[in-house]
């Protein structure tokens, strides 16, 4: 197999898949670092976002990419709502209780999707899209959009976190919550902002998974492990780490079929997760260990 084949069949799909994981992993890493618990409903929130976009596409008839902003807004609002109704009153309890609650939320979100949209596999648009040829590299438009969306969204998030007042407040909460609270940062606003960002990115992640493959009610749950592996690989609390981790996990999954049976592709993320916990729990970019 020559290099171009390797790139076309494994590396490019890996980068696309990795971008999708990265979008979700950024949200996981923010929640892990700022709110300090593992949010197990993240995958199913992504499923929900993907189905909101589907409702726009089939119901209103707009093109998929135009449905993306709507899905992001709706999912962000739902994420804030879930926090207000189900997580907020658990804040004084041990964090692990919220982890448990989020497992319940995962089940609830998925059953909402299954009741409203059924369990059949859907797509945003029918028909086969032929890839374009870029100097021998074959890339579909939607694959390009996925990577561009990752760059734009994460770039905007980085700017927000480093330049704006509320972004700095979020970073302060992540670095030292007691000090941040003492210096008068409004915890409630930070929590809400975190959910807006995590929920929006989650919807984007689910949308692009559906855009590049299919939309299924279990799609998000199966993304949960790779997304956590990406967040921990990059270092908890590090946005750029989550992106790096997502790309590594995505490429590793696609490349893994060269050496192990393809049924075990999903095991790759788990192997990476355990390996990182074993040798370097702070992740590649020195994040937190909770």
């Amino acid at each position: 197999m020559d290099l171009i084949e390797l790139l076309n069949f494994y590396v490019i799909p890996g980068i696309v898949l990795g971008s999708i994981y990265a979008l979700g992993a950024v949200g996981i890493t923010l929640i892990f670092a700022i709110l300090r618990y593992a949010h197990l409903a993240h995958g199913d929130l992504a499923t929900f976002g993907a189905f909101v976009a589907l409702a726009c596409v089939t119901g209103v008839g707009i093109p998929p990419l135009a449905a993306l902003p709507i899905a992001i807004l709706v999912t962000a609002a739902v994420a804030v709502g879930i926090d207000k109704v189900f997580y907020e009153h658990l804040r004084e309890r041990p964090k692990i209780v919220t982890v448990m609650a989020s497992l319940g939320i995962a089940l609830m979100l998925r059953s909402v999707v299954q009741v409203v949209w059924g369990v059949d596999t859907e797509t945003y648009s029918r028909g086969i899209v032929r890839p374009e040829d870029y100097f021998g590299l074959r890339i579909r438009d939607r694959e390009l959009y996925t990577v561009v969306a990752l760059i734009v969204l994460v770039g905007a998030l980085q700017l927000f976190l480093t330049r704006s007042k509320w972004g700095k407040a979020m970073r302060a909460m992540s670095d030292n919550p007691n000090l941040a609270l003492l210096s008068g940062i409004d915890n409630k606003k930070v929590v809400m902002l975190t959910w807006v960002i995590a929920g929006g990115l989650c919807a984007a992640s689910g949308f692009f998974l559906g855009y590049n493959t299919e939309i299924k009610s279990m799609m998000g749950w199966h993304m949960l492990l790779p997304m956590f592996a990406a967040a921990i690989l990059g270092g908890v609390g590090r946005v750029e780490g989550a992106v790096l981790g997502g790309l590594i996990v995505g490429i590793a999954e696609e490349l893994s079929v060269l050496v192990i049976p393809s049924e075990y592709k999903a095991a790759m993320a788990f192997a990476i997760l355990l390996f990182m916990l074993l040798v370097r729990p702070t992740g590649l970019l020195k994040g937190k260990v909770l």
Partner: protein, 325 residues
């Protein structure tokens, strides 16, 4: 025969409650005693079910075994296998906060599901393993159900007595100390990681035993026999509703939740077909909602954890008072 049907249904339900009670007891060791979050209960259940199936079925071409051993060896093997799977996971994850264990245990359950589906040599793939011998299975239907119920109850009672003894023993006190204040326990010289690993492995072994009991009851085991997420979640809500940290609570929770779950299934099965599928997911939604409500309004469960020593008789404080974040 209307009456006989009712008796058979009651027996069937009772056997399931006993099996789930065993799982809830296992989870109580992990969560109630030691504060470990295991979201992969179905994985350990499946390991136990398949191990016992392979050990006790007659030899079969095309897959490993069967070894045609007595079912008792199958059950012991199931516990050992589940413990063996738990060991490396616990070893790696228990150094960290329980969040990491939660993620890793979801991963374990997922990997086990993949292995069961794709390793035909071990598990016979999608066809599953049939002809698992059932203790006292060759007598009449109702009699054999009664006999199996007696066996399962005996196993449950033995497990309950042993776990309850451990709970009241210094070991249980130490585990609760570790759960409620890790730093203090460490300062007292307790080997926190090792003790947690013990609790995780004991709990997993009980879950494996539950899986074995299920496989022998069903006489067969296939990858689709149980829905991993639903089974895991049911055990969680059983323990939380019943009262985590209280073994009787775990058993009571198993009974209450399983009765609600199976009665609601009867109700939804009577719906016309197009609603029946949706109703299944509405039931799942309500089970999820039930957890949220219990966590919010009665976090200590129906039977709260018994308090001992100085706190006995004084105002009851929820065990969640100590924050180990």
């Amino acid at each position: 025969m209307e009456f006989l049907g009712l008796v058979n249904y009651a027996l069937f339900t009772a056997i399931f409650i006993a099996i789930y009670a065993l799982l809830a007891l296992g989870l109580n060791i992990q969560w109630g005693f030691a504060g470990l979050f295991n979201a992969g209960i179905a994985g350990f259940f499946a390991v136990g079910a398949y191990t016992s199936a392979v050990l006790s079925t007659p030899a079969d071409d095309g897959r490993l075994g069967g070894f045609d051993l007595h079912f008792v060896f199958g059950w012991i093997g199931a516990m050992l296998a589940a413990a063996l799977v738990a060991w490396p996971i616990g070893k790696i994850c228990l150094r960290f906060r329980s969040d990491y264990l939660a993620i890793a245990s979801i991963g374990v359950a997922e990997i086990i599901r993949l292995v069961i589906k794709s390793e035909e040599v071990l598990t016979n793939g999608a066809r599953g393993i049939n002809g698992i011998p059932r203790p006292a299975g060759d007598i009449g239907y109702t009699e054999s159900q009664i006999a199996y119920l007696v066996i399962v109850l005996a196993v449950l009672i033995v497990a309950y007595v042993l776990v309850e003894r451990q709970f009241n023993a210094p070991w249980g006190r130490m585990m609760r100390a570790i759960r409620d204040n890790e730093d203090a326990a460490k300062a007292m010289g307790k080997d926190v990681e090792f003790r947690r690993l013990e609790a995780f492995i004991f709990g997993a072994a009980l879950m494996g035993l539950g899986g074995a009991l299920f496989a022998h009851f069903n006489r067969s085991i296939t990858p689709e026999a149980i829905d991993p997420m639903v089974a895991t979640f049911l055990v969680w809500i059983m323990l939380i509703l019943g009262g985590s940290g209280n073994n009787r609570g775990a058993i009571l929770g198993a009974a209450v939740v399983w009765i609600i779950w199976s009665v609601s299934e009867i109700a939804t099965d009577r719906l016309p077909h197009e609603y029946a599928i949706q109703a299944k997911y509405i039931r799942l939604f309500l089970i999820g909602l039930m957890l949220q409500l219990v966590l919010r309004f009665r976090p200590e469960g129906l039977l709260p954890e018994p308090l001992r020593g100085d706190l006995r008789g004084s105002r009851r404080t929820p065990k969640s008072g100590a924050d180990h974040s």
